[in-house]
């Protein structure tokens, strides 16, 4: 706890400067990149890295201003009204995922509303349990923090975007990007694995984030119910109780995950009793946390009823030790994080058979590979780019609200599940009596075998190219294939009392709004072995269709209420020759921009403004400061490690010298920002930069004009900025349906054909689609 406090303080101090520094950084970065391009990379990197480090120490990235080069100008031109995310040290895995989530229809709004709900509660709690003052904040469950930090990230992205739209000139030289620092910090709290600057697997991060947000939702839900039911009880329950629970959870998770989870249900009662004993002040937050954990666990609990005894015992142990642990919140956090993750993944644990199937499909193996990869990765630099429209946000929010308002808060809480979680059915049918048994399991993504690759735009050192022979459809049917149980190992049919032949098939029972397809790009066997040249990645082409229908794998293919047609809206690409290292970028298709516009025109303006205002204060106060703080500390610690690592890993593969340089640069220099830029520019720019630039030019020019006009309006925001907004929106509209490449802090425009080319196997490159995100479209 003490740690946290101190951090907070620091943060506050650092607060405002940071922002500015970002901007400047951007410039700087760009320059660097350009440099890199122009000259040999290695030297450039060194410089860049060194510089950033220094700067970081002070504030952040207030970079040493570099001479602007012609390249810079180009960039400026190509600057699009979407915000990137700075690379904070190999955090491209995170950036790519965050971008996807940000543009995931409805997600932003969900986060916002969740945050609101959470905040309301916090206030209530604080009121209730004022005694604890400081602790209150600290005790905030980490998942909730994640919610908060995500929210603040969204806010800053939105803000940045709108300010860019209204004021493009300000950014003429720079980059439009914001560092996802706070979020990263929270993530590290949640899972220590993400400390340091190692490379990680994007899919794991996605799962981690979703799991924790889900946990936060559960917490909120729990609280709601708790509040209703037992205000008094909650008072009675001392902090100790909650703490105990938390700690016990952590312990348990360490020991036996399944048990722990199963045990949660029971824990509660016990903890209550204990709490009574310890008559301390009630800590609402604590209770929240606890509740959240309970919920997650509960889902899995039901099955484990039998083991309860053991669990209880464990709990007891846990509780005894817990008090000691209370003092060190970070630890708890870490543990809890894991638990959360587990919770999200639980289904797998629950139903081994299905999972085994997954495994056979290569999912698990891929995971393994991925992990290895993450650990070893040394290269990605982080910057993020993002853009946002306030207007867009608003419109979306409204939409979301419309849909959600019906169910109100509850639905908001379930929105994650609604969005990402579907259900699979493992159906085993006896061929004799034709009875079948079903087992259901939730899924958040589906892992399909691939042989691999497609490529993304860029390119520097492409290794090998492959021709797409396989289609995604093929891959999914691999995933959902029908298996016959015949021969010696027949199925014992309960109805027949006999061993009979049977068919086992995996079907989608419920499909989520957004279906995430994880392409298992790694060889199932030697993860590090690539068929070609002994490299790790499996490079077999897989065609990425823009539209997807899950029809044939659904239990109710013709159900009227659910369309099983999907449309690609985001792709996370992994470029790199080996599993162990690489760079993630994200293509996202801009959608719903026009809707935003319309709304804006009408009355959204005010709302937008309000929102903005709201966000600003928030940012500047709590969150920002916090993360600044975190940032500083991180960067310090990180550097040491990174340097060491850099030497070790310096050999990353080749991705061309450029790639290497990237990685190295990141590691050593660590100021990921610069390094990002390098990577971006190196990779993607050569080929397409020019074309992009030209393409974008038109719109940009327009934008510029509008922006200028808008600029004025912005300043006097309160008044009649509508015109400006309109213009801004119109600018935005130009991007409707376009594909944007988010490469950390850099954002570039891609026409669909270019995108397709980038993803197609024909293009030579080592960069291949890794995660595909499809959203449901009505027929």
């Amino acid at each position: 706890m003490p740690v946290l406090h101190s951090e907070v303080g620091v943060v506050a101090a650092v607060g405002s400067p940071v922002k500015k520094s970002k901007l400047s950084l951007k410039f700087f970065q760009k320059k660097d990149t350009k440099r890199a391009l122009d000259f040999s990379e290695a030297p450039a990197e060194d410089n860049s890295t060194a510089e950033p480090e220094d700067t970081t120490n002070h504030d952040q990235v207030v970079p040493v201003p570099c001479p602007s080069s012609p390249l810079t100008c180009e960039k400026c031109e190509s600057l699009v009204p979407f915000v990137g995310l700075n690379n904070l040290g190999n955090t491209c895995y995170l950036n790519s995922i965050l971008q996807v989530l940000y543009y995931c229809p409805g997600f932003k709004e969900a986060i916002k509303s969740l945050c609101q709900m959470a905040k309301l509660k916090d206030k209530q709690q604080e009121d209730g349990a004022k005694n604890e003052g400081d602790t209150g904040e600290i005790t905030l469950p980490v998942p909730m923090e994640l919610l908060g930090s995500f929210h603040s990230l969204i806010s800053s992205v939105e803000q940045l975007q709108s300010s860019f739209l209204l004021n493009p000139e300000k950014y003429s030289d720079g980059e439009l990007a914001t560092p996802p620092r706070k979020l990263l910090n929270t993530l590290r709290q949640l899972n220590p694995m993400y400390e340091g600057y190692l490379q990680h697997d994007a899919q794991e991060v996605l799962q981690c984030i979703l799991a924790n947000i889900q946990e936060a939702c559960d917490n909120i839900k729990k609280e709601q119910t708790d509040n209703q039911k037992d205000n008094t009880i909650s008072n009675v329950m001392g902090d100790s109780t909650h703490e105990e629970d938390g700690s016990s959870d952590g312990q348990l998770s360490g020991k036996r995950k399944s048990d722990t989870e199963a045990g949660n249900a029971k824990k509660k009662p016990k903890s209550q009793s204990k709490s009574k004993k310890n008559e301390e002040n009630v800590h609402m937050t604590r209770s929240k946390r606890k509740s959240s954990s309970d919920i997650t666990t509960e889902s899995s609990d039901q099955r484990n009823g039998t083991e309860e005894q053991e669990k209880e015992q464990e709990k007891d142990r846990g509780s005894t030790t817990e008090e000691e642990k209370n003092d060190s919140p970070p630890k708890e956090v870490g543990k809890r994080t894991r638990r959360g993750k587990l919770g999200w993944l639980k289904p797998s644990g629950k139903q081994p058979s299905i999972f085994s199937k997954f495994r056979s499909m290569g999912r698990i193996t891929s995971h393994v590979g991925g992990k290895g990869e993450t650990k070893e990765k040394s290269d990605c630099s982080v910057q993020e780019k993002q853009e946002k429209d306030t207007s867009e946000n608003e419109s979306r929010t409204q939409e979301v609200k419309q849909s959600l308002e019906k169910n109100k808060e509850q639905s908001v809480l379930d929105v994650l599940k609604w969005m990402f979680q579907g259900q699979l059915v493992l159906r085993t049918r006896c061929l004799e009596c034709e009875c079948f048994t079903e087992r259901r399991e939730d899924f958040q993504d589906i892992s399909v075998p691939v042989q691999e690759d497609e490529n993304s735009s860029s390119d520097s050192s492409s290794e090998s190219e492959y021709i797409d022979t396989e289609t995604l459809k093929w891959a999914i049917s691999q995933f959902a294939s029908v298996e016959r149980i015949v021969g010696q190992d027949k199925y014992f049919c309960e109805t027949c009392h006999h061993y009979t032949e049977a068919e086992r098939s995996l079907l989608f029972d419920k499909t989520p709004e957004v279906i995430t397809i994880h392409l298992k790009c790694f060889a199932a066997n030697g993860s590090e072995m690539d068929p070609y040249a002994g490299l790790s990645k499996v490079n077999t082409p897989l065609q990425t269709p823009l539209k997807l229908s899950l029809h044939e794998w659904c239990t109710q293919p013709d159900s009227p209420d659910q369309s099983h047609h999907y449309e690609l809206f985001a792709v996370v690409m992994h470029s790199g020759v080996t599993i162990s290292s690489g760079h993630y970028t994200t293509y996202i298709r801009m959608m719903d921009l026009h809707r935003t516009t319309l709304r804006l025109q009408s009355q959204d303006e005010e709302q937008a403004r309000d929102q903005e205002e709201d966000m600003k204060p928030k940012k500047e106060e709590g969150p920002q400061t916090e993360y600044d703080d975190g940032e500083v500390s991180f960067s310090l610690s990180g550097r040491g490690r990174t340097v060491a690592r850099a030497s070790a890993t310096s050999m990353s593969s080749k991705s061309g010298s450029k790639r290497c340089s990237e990685g190295v640069g990141l590691l050593g220099g660590q100021r990921s920002v610069t390094s990002y830029e390098l990577s971006n520019s190196t990779q993607s720019n050569p080929e397409k930069a020019s074309s992009l630039a030209s393409r974008a030019a038109g719109s940009l020019l327009q934008n510029a004009v509008k922006k200028e006009t808008e600029e004025e309006g912005v300043d006097s925001m309160g008044d009649g900025t509508q015109v400006n907004f309109d213009l801004a929106l119109r600018n935005l509209l130009d991007f409707e349906g376009k594909w944007m490449l988010f490469d950390d802090s850099e954002v570039r425009l891609f026409e669909e054909e270019d995108f397709l080319r980038a993803c197609s196997p024909e293009t030579c490159s080592t960069s291949t689609p890794y995660l595909l995100f499809y959203k449901r479209v009505s027929q």
Binding site: C433, E434, V486, H497, Y499, E501
Partner: protein
Amino acid sequence: AGLDRQIFLWDVNTLTQDPYIASMEHHTDWVNDIILCCNGKTLISASSDTTVKVWNAHKGFCMSTLRTHKDYVKALAYAKDKELVASAGLDRQIFLWDVNTLTALTASNNTVTTSSLSGNKDSIYSLAMNQTGTVIISGSTEKVLRVWDPRTCAKLMKLKGHTDNVKSLLLNRDGTQCLSGSSDGTIRLWSLGQQRCIATYRVHDEGVWALQVNEAFTHIYTGGRDRKIYCTDLRNPDLRVLICEEKAPILTMELDKSADPPQAVWVSTTKSVVNKWPKHSIRSKDCASIVQSHILNDKRHILTKDSNNSVAFWDVLKACKGEDLGKVDFDEEIKKRFKMVYVPNWFSVDLKTGMLTITLDESDCFAAWVAAKDAGFTSPDGSDPKLNLGGLLLQALLEFWPRTHINPMEEEESELNHVNGEQESRIQKGNGYFQVPPHTPVIFGEAGGRTLFRLLCRDSGGETESMLLNETVPQWVIDITVDKNMPKFNKIPFYIQPHSSSGAKTLKKDRLSASDMLQVRKVMEHVYEKIINLDTESQTTSSSANDKLGEQEKEEDVAVIAEEKIELMCLDQVLDANMDLRTVKHFIWKSGGDLTLHYRQKST
């Protein structure tokens, strides 16, 4: 007299004329299909025991057994004009048999040559041949129909269209048209000349399992999982008539073709019932099958529930039914008969044939020992020997086998034994305690479940049977039945410590070991003698792993004293002197690791 065909899916083939004539039992698993040929003189059956059997239909005995298939035999087809029979099964093979050859088979001349049709890629579930034997069609999970010419064994064509397993097939007389019923719920009419489907009938809600057609090939009678039987006009599918609705999915149908349109249809369902429609002269053979079983804790008695919900109580050891309990609540009965006893598993139960089948496997068959007294037996000399349940049963089953009456020899494998008990009987050699009913079927099989040899208990004295037994009885069975080598007792390791409340100093941990059926009483004696009494002396020898405390002469009185003076506890629970160690371990200790017992002197 009209000829009707009945199939019991279970282990029984019953050929019925108007009253019941006979049942034929020789298969050890489901009978999947039967065919009457040679004008009703010969019956051929296909079973999930992977065999095809040829029967004399009039006398009801099995003439020969064909073991060419390697998996369940699912379907038969018959070409009347040529007396040609085809069999097919899950091993994807089709074999052609000449009935006249089959009927000429004897025990000594038992080689048959068959032609086989291969090419199927998946398990075959249905088969049809036209009357003249010019076309044969198979239906499989491959979802396509494959067509051969049985004369040349040449593949003719594949017919695609079904979306699921094909479970029933029919051919018209000249082999130009084919009807197929599939699990996808459709019936298709195919033209073999055009090699395509010329009509699809969607009559049923679920899979079509049974298919018949009238003599003129104009109306089809279909039944299936949805329990309904429809008659549909092939040329005008809208003209369909619901003939009846059964209570269970329909397995097969037979038309009374003495007139056209058929006057009656015989229907068999999964409920082991054969009904005749439309006259509603329902005649069902009462042959309820056992659908649920529970092994009681003593590992000797079994409770079963049959499809009529009647509950029965069986004695596995004696291979007979102990008691018919009627329609009582199964779970209640289980509770009622619960005993706090633990005996290791020594057999497993199989209900696939609708009868209780007890399987003894080498790995655990001899795991269970009981005291003769507990088992309700008294030995002649009045002692209380320990009996091995599996050993006893084996001895009883093979008691008529001459070889068990002498002494030497050997063999090996796993073994099955089939209990179909009703009566009980006298006492003879065997194990010296009891006998199993002489009609008890005994089946020797491979570990995988394939049957090697089946005979009735009483037949093992016959000459052929005895010879065959010599070939099939596995060594481990011989060991006990012929050589009378009793297996070793199971040992259970445990510790004895003074209870913490007694204040006595802890003994050094000596690991004791004893038969797992040692009663707590004996342990108490041991404690009393070796530890308490030795307290005065130097306790040197008490540590030895002394288990057979059970020389039960003088100790009678010691036991009494011991019981008065001390009590044994496990996990702070006082133990009943009559409990044995395995029960203690199972019900009280409950965890792995060595059992630890505590003793303390009674405070009196």
